[in-house]
């Protein structure tokens, strides 16, 4: 192994598919922990995962046709992410947030802010944005590019890929 290769950073790529509150927390915990321990981290947001990146944190109708506008309103943004179990109509994420505050565990907003400061790369999935009628302007500024799977895989060469 060459000297240059020996000092190369390890790479982790996280596919954020589910968009559920607890799974998004897990994704950001791994991402920020990895970036803070000198790994190069890429997060690829697809399908329901895109909801966490919407600028509009609540429910907003967006999209180019009736169905996409309904879908986006129903899914909402970061404030509407459901718990993967025992969601109880959206009450549980708020209870979970309270429990996290009580135990001094970082909230999703804090982890996302840290991810931004740590320079974690964000890619958004072109195909699912097309289906859901979401444009890059609808997403937070941390999103560097809207890409397809080939670009994601090229950028994740030699990386561990985690699917959440």
């Amino acid at each position: 192994m060459s000297k240059v290769a020996a000092v190369e950073k390890k790479k982790i790529s996280i596919v954020c598919f589910s968009g559920e509150f607890d799974k998004m927390l897990a994704a950001y915990t791994i991402a920020t922990g990895a970036a803070a321990t000198n790994r190069e981290v890429t997060m690829f947001f697809t399908f329901w995962g895109l909801n966490a990146l919407k600028k509009e944190r609540g429910r907003k109708s967006m999209g180019k046709d009736f169905l996409s506008r309904v879908f986006n309103w129903l899914m909402g943004g970061r404030n509407n992410l459901p718990l993967s179990r025992l969601n109880f109509g959206g009450a549980s994420p708020k209870l979970m947030g309270g429990m996290m505050r009580k135990n001094n565990v970082a909230q999703l907003d804090e982890l996302m802010q840290a991810a931004s400061e740590l320079g974690i790369r964000y890619f958004a999935c072109e195909m699912s944005m097309h289906i859901l009628g979401i444009s890059k302007d609808d997403l937070i500024d941390d999103v560097q590019s809207v890409v397809g799977v080939a670009t994601f895989l090229n950028e994740s060469e030699d990386a561990h890929i985690i699917f959440i």
Partner: protein, 73 residues
């Protein structure tokens, strides 16, 4: 110049994150004192700092079962 950071109330991953972000804002040659708990932070914060090329100058136990880590950027 010596900086100070208390991560004893932080939990994973913010223990690592806060140290990393503070070191990133410091100038080369400056020192950072980090007060941390035993267990995961004690086992991994000094190691990850060394892996990133920072010098761990000392890591001493304090009176109340915590540790004081001294890092030089």
């Amino acid at each position: 110049m010596k900086h100070f950071l208390d991560i004893t109330r932080e939990t994973c991953p913010m223990t690592f994150v806060k140290v990393k972000l503070r070191l990133a804002k410091m100038q080369a040659g400056e020192q950072l004192e980090v007060l941390l708990n035993k267990g995961e932070p004690l086992e991994n914060v000094p190691r990850s700092c060394e892996e990133q090329g920072y010098k761990v100058l000392s890591c001493e136990p304090t009176d109340n079962d915590q540790h004081m880590l001294l890092i030089e950027k």
